[in-house]
Subunit: 234 residues, 2 copies
DNA sequence: CGCAAATTGCGATCACCGTTCGCAATTAAG
DNA sequence: CTTAATTGCGAACGGTGATCGCAATTTGCG
């Protein structure tokens, strides 16, 4: 019968506990930063599945096995990528109301995910605890400093807002951004299925003339809805 | 230079457009359903990464290549799995207020994701358009039948509620449910990092005594917050 | 200065993955 | 009974993450 459900396998966040380089031995020809940015460009241009150890190694002109001198696993590489793009947030002095600050962060997050289409799925799936990611969290929590809420509740609120953001952006990217082709087949199948008469409410909701192209406002509306409900003052 | 970002590759939702079996030829020794349920058990017991073509084939006593007579790709297999567990929803007659019906669905969804820990990440990542998934959507949208909202807005609301649910459950599973081991390392790293003095608000929010063990109520609170903000009447 | 210890780069290799191909066996239709 | 379609599947292909062992390099110590 052996083990249960997946051995520990090693935590990707260990990258942040390990010193990048020790004092002795030959100087490394590369760096975590260089590797991460190379991986990010590859993902931007060819999709996340193209980010393999070999591909990234080739991208920086190194042998495949050499990458493991900088990163202990493929998961750690992804961790580096996530933290790299988390570095694209810009933090203005914490002025203004809590809701406004959070909306600003969410808007920036949306922009970042649009720049890096592979990001949203990862954010919805993995924690990401690098310094830049933590800086984002710090900014979001500190926006709630004046709000009367227990600490865990603040964290929960931030987490849910982030999830909402990622999910919304992923819908955006799946609908319009993607190449046709696969989407066309799906639409065809959906049309057929909705015509069967099962799912009447669904059919009506989907056929109704949608005011498309208002992503911007829809996004703001969704987030405002949640924050208002959560008691975050405007 | 070649292509851009990932060729069409084939849409997983094609499974639903294809007849399970044609009229001629030998009788298949297996079925989509059997394969799907086998795959689900494997994922339940050994994790999603254990669900490989070979492993599933072995699970039903078949050769690896034989699976491709029932499913065109690994993605389609996953699609079958998702729709299979979506079949665990129970729909009561559409009575009661909109918010209550939606909360009921969300609660069921949470239970299902607890039963199948591999589900939440998938739901956050893929569409899933099988009959059972569509049935769920139909139920959710029909709960909004009496609410004065344009069709697309209803869909948006349902999508966001589902995302919120999946994200919340994933947090639950990552925190408590998972084996220690990896989590222990992470906690250690977090403690170290928060002691550095950067991230002061984050540190305070995390160190504050959390009222843990109230997942149930927290869950209801999060969803109610959103639905209230979205204007869904209680 | 020179030597020992640690570290780097990396070719070769392993185990596994998704997927394709070709073929024997089976079945329904004409 | 023949024909055509379909099934099951062993074998193989290309790609993946990861490990190992070794030559080359660099630091620090005596």
């Amino acid at each position: 019968m052996k083990g249960g459900a997946g051995l520990p396998d090693h935590d990707p966040t260990d990258v942040w506990r390990r010193p990048e380089r020790s004092t002795v031995g030959p100087k490394p020809e590369h760096s975590r930063n260089g590797i991460a940015t190379a991986a990010v460009s590859i993902a931007d241009e060819e999709g996340l599945t193209a980010v393999s150890i070999r591909r990234v190694a080739a991208g920086i002109g190194a042998g495949a096995a050499s990458l493991y001198r900088y990163v202990k696993s493929h998961d750690e590489l992804v961790e580096l990528m996530m933290d790299t793009v988390a570095g694209e947030y810009r933090y203005t002095g914490g002025s203004g109301h809590a809701r406004g600050q959070l909306l600003n962060l969410a808007h920036q997050g949306r922009d970042i995910m649009h720049r890096h289409p592979w990001l949203a799925p990862l954010l919805l799936t993995r924690p990401s605890m690098g310094p830049n990611s933590l800086r984002y969290l710090e900014a979001a929590v500190s926006a709630l400093a004046t709000v009367d809420l227990p600490g865990p509740a603040k964290l929960q609120t931030v987490a849910m807002m982030s999830a909402l953001t990622s999910a919304f952006v992923q819908n955006e990217l799946a609908s319009g951004g993607g190449r046709m082709g696969a989407a066309a087949d799906r639409v065809l199948y959906l049309a057929e299925t909705l015509n069967t008469g099962d799912y009447p409410h669904l059919a009506e909701a989907m056929t109704e003339r949608g005011e498309t192209g208002h992503s911007e406002e829809q996004f703001a509306a969704v987030l405002t809805n949640y924050l208002a409900g959560a008691g975050i003052p405007a």
